[in-house]
Every structure is written in C-alpha cells, then in structure tokens.
Amino acid sequence: MGATSGNRSMFRRLLRRLLFANHGRLFVILLALSAGAAVSAALLNLQVDAKRRINSEFRAFGPNVLILPKSSLASFDATFSESTAKEIPESYPGGRVTVSSALYIAGRISISQTGKSISGIVAGIRPLMFLRIAVAPSGTDPGKPPLPNMPQGPVCISGQRIAARLGVEQNASLVITDGDHSESCTVFSLIHTGGAEDDRVEVELHQAQRLAGLPGRISAISLYVPGTSQQKADYVASLQKQFPDIEVRPLRQFSEAQAKIYSRISGLLTAATAIILILTALCVMAAMTNIAAERRNDVGMMKAIGGSARRVLHLFVTEAVVLGLAGGLIGAAAGIALSVVLGKAVFGVAAAPRLIVYPICVALTVIVAILGAYPLRRLVNVRPATIFRGEA
C-alpha cells in the first residue's frame, strides 16, 4: 500500500490535516489523553514507590536476626571478636542488610552535676542510633526535641526509665565507671521504646570496650535482613555456615509476621494498580470515542469516493496512535512529576520517580487509544449510504 513516495507523502499530508484541523479540539483531546496518562502514571509511580517504601518501613520494626556467642545464656560476659561484624555480607539479593554490633556491660552510671549514681547496663553500640524510633517520651516536656546539634565529645543515649530513676535530662553529663575504667559522655537524647532500651544507657562501642577493658570484643550483633522468607532463611543458613562458632538466631516474631503482612499489603497495592490501569483505559477510551463519533461522516464520505476499508482505517488508526503517543508521552511525564509532589504531601517524603512506570503508561495509552478507535473499524465495513442516512 502506498508504495510510491507520492502516496506516502499524501498519507502524511492527510494525517497532518487530520490532526491539526481544529486546534481547539486537538488541545482538548490531548488534554484528556494526557490527563488519563498522568493520573495513571502518578498513581502507578506511587504504588511502585510505596511497595519499596513499605518494605523499608519494616526496617523500623527493628532487627530480625541476632548473632550471639554459642550458649551465651551461661552468662552475659561471653563475647566474641568485633571483626566478625565486618565479615558479614551487607548486600545480598534480598536487599541491603543493616548491621549493628553491641557490647553489654554492667557499670556504675553517675551524673557529674549531681553526683547521683546507679548501677545499670551500659550498651556500646555501633552505629549509635541504629534502628531507633526516637519518640518524645511521655512525662517529659513534649516541646523538647532531641538536641538540634551534636554536642562536642562523646555522646550517649539514655533509656527513659533509667533516666527517670537517675534524674537524667538532655544535655546532662554522665560518668560511667566499671572497675578502674571510667568514661564520660553527654546525653544527646532520651528514648522510650517499651523494650530493653528503656532501662540502659547507650554509648559508642569503642567507649564501652575501653570501659570494660575488652578492646575488639562484642556481645552480640543485630541484623536487619530484608527480603522474602526464603531469601532470609537462605541468608541465615549461609551466615551460620560462615561463622560456625557463633549462633545465628532469626527472631521469628518479626520475620514471619512481617512476611505475611507484607504479602497482604502487596496484594492490596497490586489490586490498586489494576484499578488504576482500568481507570486509564476508561479515560482514554472516553476521549477516543468522542473522536470516533466525529470521524463517522469522514469514513462514509471517503468510502463513497472509493476509499478502501483498509486505507481509510489505516489513516484513522494512525491518528489514534499519534494522539495516544503524544498524550501518553506528555501525560506520563507530568504524572511522574506529580507523584513526586503527591508523595511529599501524603507520605512526607517525596516519591522517587520509578522509570519503569513511564513506558508502561505510554504503551497503555497508545493501546487503549487504538482500541478506542474500534467503532471506526466496524464502520468501515458498513455501506456509505447507511452512514449518510445516520443509521450506522
């Protein structure tokens, strides 16, 4: 068809005329198509982003794998080498593993200002502030956030209950002693988690090691391992093989429930995605059927002067494709930009643009635009007289 260049250029000419006949209408149709593409791109981007974000939300549940010296229940003095932590693979197919080492010692904690002291657990953590949910503890003045700037010198974090007993406040100076070793630090913030952290003071790992006279030793390693249940299980098994003299213990409370909850949420988000795609199809279809209605007369007339069904259809389907492509390209880009803003408004964090969304939305718009031209497909096989009579 149209083998000669003359016919090809005529086709292009016809197409140009078709598209730009009425600037106002072209604008409206493109607007409708882009709107459909934009909405779906925005929502799709949010969904894809949400899945990944919610996965990382699960990090906030805290560590799900614990590494302890074998039969550590004998006494809490058992320690193992800090170098173990460095050998743990941090990235694996399931995602990025967060690693934190800790050394627990019992020591005497006193406030330098008041001299009041108490015996308690001191945890040396690296990195400090690992997986912490720092919440303004009730009972303290809710208007006081953690110190805006890190103070000079070593910092520590005090659990809320031990702070209450000792009378510790933010910015207090603590002196911690264990045997003949002594260290000091400034309280950076108080935390209240409802767990063991409430009853201890956390300092930087090396400080705790100096205090205990145990350089290079740690009591436990906490890991957050992302991924599916199977991936986690494989990772734990390979870790245990890598370090046969220590115990790698998955914390079932979080692993299993997490997997189940995530699969529910994932299912929901997938359903929402399907809804979004149907919506796009609806919008685009609506825009295109309006065009198809207008092309009705053109089809009849072109057939009357000898236009074959194939050629006439080719013209209008190409129009639909061009419109769908234009609307899709513009709309999807706008939609992704919109989703970044929406993410900030709804979740407080700007959504990251996920590039996979772009081609999907454009393709969808084009496909549905072609489908929207379907009524014309039927029409090209109807006799012109019927079309002119208005009965088609």
Binding site: A60, S72, P142, G194, I261, I275
Partner: protein, 435 residues
C-alpha cells in the same frame, strides 16, 4: 405521553445507550470496588498486625532496673517487685475493653530439672539448671460482671509456635523449649521433674508440646503460671504482663502528654483508641504498674497503616474522578449524536424546557440502571479482592451504594448538561438541514 416518549427514545439507537450504560457500569464498578476496599482496609490490616504480638507491656513500678540482654533477664532471683494477678480482670473494665484482644502475665523462676526419659548428658540424679517461664494458656478469667474472658499467651506471643499442643492449666502439663528438647533428648509424652529454691520437692510435669520461638524460650521450660508461682513461692503474683490491643494510628495529637491537656482535649484523647491512651487507662486500673507502649511495634504499625490507607484513598479519589470524566464524556457524546433528533422536536414545537426535561429524565434512568449494575459488579469485584488478600470479604455497605448512585446521577447529568444546553438553544433549521 411523557412516559411513552421516554420509552420510545429508549428503544431507538440501542447501541449508543448500551455503550453509555457500559461506561457507567464500568466506572461505577471501579468506584465501588475501590471504596469498599478502602473503607475496609483499616480494620483488616489492623487485624493482621495483631500477628506481631503484644503492643503493650506492663511491669511493676517499684521494680528494680532489669538487666536484660537478648530477652534474658540477669537479675538476681529475689530482687524486684511483683504485681497481683487478682487485679487483672480490671483490664477488661476500661473504656476500650473491646479493643483489648488478649493479655498474658509472665513469671520466670530459675529451676533445676531432670527427666527420667533423658538418655543424654544427664542421668537420674544429675540435675540441670534451667528457667521455667510461667504464663497463661486458654485461661478463663472471671470478670466483674460475671462473664468470662478467655485469653492466652498464644495471642500475645503469636510467633511462638508449638509442636504438639499447649498445656492445659491445672493439669501438671508443660511445654519445653526446642533447644532444651534437643539438648536433653526429651520428647512429647515424657515427663520432666522440676524443683526450685522455694520448693525443693520435685514436681512432676508431663511434656505435651515443644515450643520454638527463636528467643530465650527455646532453652526454657514454659508452663502454667500457677506452677511458676508455686515454685517461686510467690502465689498470685506476676512480674510482666503483655497486652495486645487494637489501636488507631497515632498522630501529633495522640503524642501529647495527657497531663498537659485540658478537660475537652483529654476526653477526646481518651475516647480515641490510640495506643498511648489505652496504655494510660490500663495504668489507671492496675495500681503500682508501669504500662509502656512497645514502640517498635506500635509505631511501625501505625506508620504502615497510615501510608497504605492514604494510598488507597488516593486511588479511590482518582477512581471517582476518572469515572466521572469517562461517564461525562460518554453522556456528552450521546447527546451530541442526537442533535438532529432534538432539533426536530424543537421544530415540532416542543419548548427547550420540555426537550431538556425529556433528555434529563432519560439520562437519569440510564444513570440509575448503570449505577446499580456498576455497584453489583463492583461489589463482586470487591469481594474477590477482599477474599484473595485478606481471606475475608468486605461487608456490603449502603453508604457505598448511595455514593455510587449519587455520583452516577450527578456525573451523567453534568456531562450531558452542556451539550444539551447547546442543542436545545440552537435553531432547529440549520441542524435539520445537516449543517
């Protein structure tokens, strides 16, 4: 006559009418499904989150500072304070008692244990040191109003998995930890003898299940609270209580200190099932207790719930908008197509008002039919989605039906309003001529 006109116009151009109804149905189905799921999801997800276990922990206020590492408490035995078990029924008397799904007290006691069946490292006469953790299993708690509340550690610590079955209270049964069982080759059906400093006589317990938690319980013996109380010489007491409550995600208002609130705010705060207000009310009824929120669970749960809900509402909103757009366009198109028919009616003497009214009536009928059909499909869709994801279908809601019908009506009328106006106010002649 009017009815006849409508009936007449309905049978003509059935294909166009069918298309409009189809667009309406699809749009409304999507809206229905989205709305139903969005309304339902909060409760469903909250129910899912209960599988994470308790979100509140209660300890004696006067207690010494726990020395806890990896879940094991290293405090010397007789240090510390305890709470009375008899106060526990009061928990179910707080304002939000229906949200309190379960609670289970814990009392740990160091024991010596040996098992006649064990063929491994010990033989009769050689004893091992272990911890016996006492708690409730299917415990029927008598409440002040005469009813019974059955609760269990199974709910508060739902990740504890038991091979065999949980012990029955008052039957001298117990569970043993998986590591314990493996180390000493003790099986279900064997018996274990325990004794403690406060009760030197050996108590014989039958093993009915093996418990695996991934925590220190794997090395312990988990038995009824009453036995732990007996062995530690602390009858009617417990040291730690886990509570599982259904809560509402917290916002800035929830985080405020109740002591700083005025009467009105305080009422609003305590009348919302925030985890912190439930904690506060439990603290009121359990004297001498310190109730803490397990932030690790409560906060993350709140975050995730809020995010998922926001996202779903966004989708629902988009569904509403898109359905409105699609239906409006479809309805507009159908009016435009019938321009000549309308012009003819005008030429025959029908007033603009009459023509408009006729068309509006027709569109309303379409909206009603399409909206109801759409609701039907959408409800089926919502059921499928709900069952597939949560195992439970969402409840049918008249609210949703109402919204859907209202939306369908408004959108159809709005969509046809503009072209209708143009059509009825145009001169009939040019249209009839075919221009």
């Amino acid at each position: 006559m009017f009815a006849r006109l409508i009936a007449d116009s309905f049978t003509r151009r059935p294909r166009r009418k069918l298309l409009t109804v189809a667009a309406l149905s699809l749009g409304m189905a999507v809206v229905t499904a989205a709305l139903s799921v969005a309304l339902d999801v909060g409760d469903r997800l909250a129910a899912e989150f209960t599988s994470l276990g308790a979100n509140l922990v209660v300890t004696p206020q006067a207690d010494s500072l726990p020395l806890e590492i990896g879940g094991v408490d290293y405090r010397p035995v007789n240090s510390g304070a305890y709470l009375p078990e008899s106060d526990l029924p009061k928990i179910k008397s707080v304002f939000w008692h229906n949200n309190i799904i379960a609670f289970a007290p814990i009392l740990e006691v160091p024991v010596q244990a040996w098992s006649p069946a064990s063929k491994n490292s010990f033989s009769p006469g050689v004893v091992e040191n272990a911890t016996l953790l006492g708690t409730w299993s299917q415990h029927a708690l008598a409440l002040s109003d005469g009813k019974e509340f059955v609760t269990s550690a199974e709910k508060t610590n739902s990740w504890w998995s038991v091979e065999g079955r949980w012990f029955t209270e008052n039957a001298d049964e117990t569970l043993i930890g998986a590591n314990f069982a493996r180390k000493f080759a003790v099986k279900i059906g064997d018996s274990v003898n325990v004794a403690a400093a406060a009760k030197p006589a050996w108590k014989n317990l039958r093993v009915v299940g093996i418990i695996a938690t991934g925590g220190p319980e794997d090395d312990a013996i988990v038995g009824p609270l009453s036995i732990a109380q007996e062995l530690s010489g602390k009858p009617g007491l417990y040291r730690k209580l886990y509570v599982l409550a259904l809560t509402k995600p917290e916002d800035a208002f929830a985080h405020r200190d109740p002591k700083t609130m005025d009467q009105k705010d305080f009422e609003r705060w305590s009348c919302s099932p925030y985890v912190s207000s439930i904690a506060y009310s439990i603290q009121q009824v359990l004297p001498g207790s310190d109730v803490r929120v397990i932030r690790r669970i409560a906060d993350s749960e709140g975050q995730i719930l809020t995010r998922v809900r926001s996202l779903l509402w966004l989708v629902t909103l988009a569904a509403l908008l898109a359905a409105a757009l699609a239906v409006g366009a479809s309805s507009a198109a159908s009016v435009i197509e019938r321009r000549s028919e309308l012009a003819l009616m005008k030429a025959l003497g029908a007033g603009s008002g009459m023509v408009g009214f006729l068309l509006a009536a027709e569109q309303l009928l379409l909206a009603f039919v399409g909206g109801t059909l759409g609701y039907g499909f959408g409800y089926v869709l919502a059921r499928i989605v709900g069952t597939k994801i949560f195992g439970v279908p969402p409840l049918p809601s008249f609210l949703v039906l109402g919204v859907v019908l209202a939306l369908a009506t408004v959108v159809t009328l709005l969509g046809s309003a503009l072209p209708l106006r143009r059509a009825t106010h145009c001169e009939p002649a040019p249209i009839l001529r075919g221009e």
